[in-house]
Symmetry: C3
Subunit: 203 residues, 3 copies
């Protein structure tokens, strides 16, 4: 139940982030809706495709569509307020990141994949909606050069399997995974953390 | 039979549109062929992947390859004429749009998806070949900001399920769906319809 | 055994090529790793998806991950040397091209696809990792406009099925396919071969 609520919060945050990006790119309302859908569902879709889970999740559960469509309408109506509230957006986005990573890890476990691969699947679930969004908007995906983003997901994955190793309860593992990701992500933005770039020649 | 002819017309139109785009981008003949293949098969491939229909259609039916290859040869030979005939191209393209939407809707019904999802699948089938073409050519996909395109497909989808609801005959539903899409698409170009863009600040 | 060694050489070459591209794009180390993974696994992943082979290969065989990660570490450490040795890189890359085309053709035969489609699958396996790499780096994929690359794969495919037709032994077919691709690719670079571009108007 709580899980489902958090899932919806993540979907909403990702839909809003996609819609705002599309609005800034001067897309029409169809474009805005499509980019929001792709941002919210893209990561889970790629995950489902990689592990062979068909039809992909969002085709058989319409509720997510209504959530995304509602988010887009609200984003369009309140875009001026939202653009002034990057911090609240960031917070929702971090929650989505945490939840989607957890969901991805579990989907990987369901098909008996190696923990390392599960962590990667979780990261793909959480991050690749944004990657596809950036590709469709004709930009180099932000996560490849800008911020600590996927790294937060991977850290959460490590916490997950550490929790499994020490046989903590399901609830403890779930919550600590999500909280780890959210905290790292927020701290990274707060303190402008970024991964080292590889320097060429004498830069 | 008529269906198969129309399908081929759609494939030809999409292959030509892809080839012309690649020629304008100064690609070599392999690039032109690949972009034509991607434009013609991309939407159907993405649809097949999403619903889990493997191997994807064009891998098991070579005839489509010959149609695309022939279209590319003709496009290269007659590129000067074709570039002067945007209207005939537009007309073929609109037919392709109508047919591919209809095919996508039916593939969705075959795997028992919700009508709303079927309409989206139809739209994906008709539009995403062009989206992938634009991504490969390093441009923001035209359908997200330029014209009434996907919207025509969706309108056709509404007509389809309205027809189902009123229990019209298969033929009537099929024809009215395709005609709706073609007419809306042509009118949209003729009268420069476009969807509203979302304005930011005081634009 | 030899096959497995060659496979690893191909993976290493593609991972290095991806990592160097990402370094030039000033990505952070996560971006460098991701682009290397995508370049090395992207073609095989797309092939597996098209024929419906799930979960895709690299999810169930971790050894490839270690190979890619090791390649990335070495690329970062020795980037100055590597950037001065384009010829050795080119040679590895050509080996990867040969091996991956052969693997793709055989995967197609396993699911009873037509020889023509198998050749295309082999080409996709060998080339599309690079295409996805270029898309993620926001560039028009090099193979569409730059060099004889996919064409070498296709020539290798023709050799493969010519060998099958004349009932040569497996080893002879495999080796001649790979050697054909490597030789054509190296000659193409040495003598600056390129496919004809389609001219528009009076260029």
């Amino acid at each position: 139940m709580l899980f489902s609520i958090l899932d919806n919060i993540g979907t909403i945050a990702f839909a809003i982030s996609g819609a705002l990006t599309a609005i800034e790119k001067r897309m029409d309302i169809f474009g805005v809706l499509m980019i929001a859908i792709v941002t919210a569902f893209g990561g889970g879709t790629l995950r489902d495709i990689l592990i062979g889970n068909f039809p992909v999740t969002w085709l058989t559960d319409l509720s997510n569509f209504y959530v995304v469509t509602g988010s887009v309408v609200i984003t369009i109506l309140f875009r001026k307020v939202l653009l002034k509230l990057p911090l609240s957006l960031l917070f929702f986005d971090a929650i989505g990141l945490g939840i989607f990573t957890l969901i991805g890890i579990q989907k990987g476990l369901l098909v008996n994949l190696h923990p390392l691969v599960c962590v990667l699947l979780g990261t793909v679930t959480a991050c690749f909606g944004g990657v596809i969004r950036d590709i469709l908007c004709n930009e180099v995906p932000a996560i490849f050069h800008k911020e600590v983003y996927a790294t937060a997901c991977m850290a959460g994955g490590v916490v997950f399997f550490a929790g499994e190793y020490f046989a903590f309860s399901r609830d403890v593992i779930f919550i600590s995974t999500i909280v780890t990701i959210i905290v790292i992500r927020l701290l990274a933005v707060r303190y402008s953390w970024s991964l080292p770039h590889v320097k060429v020649w004498g830069e």
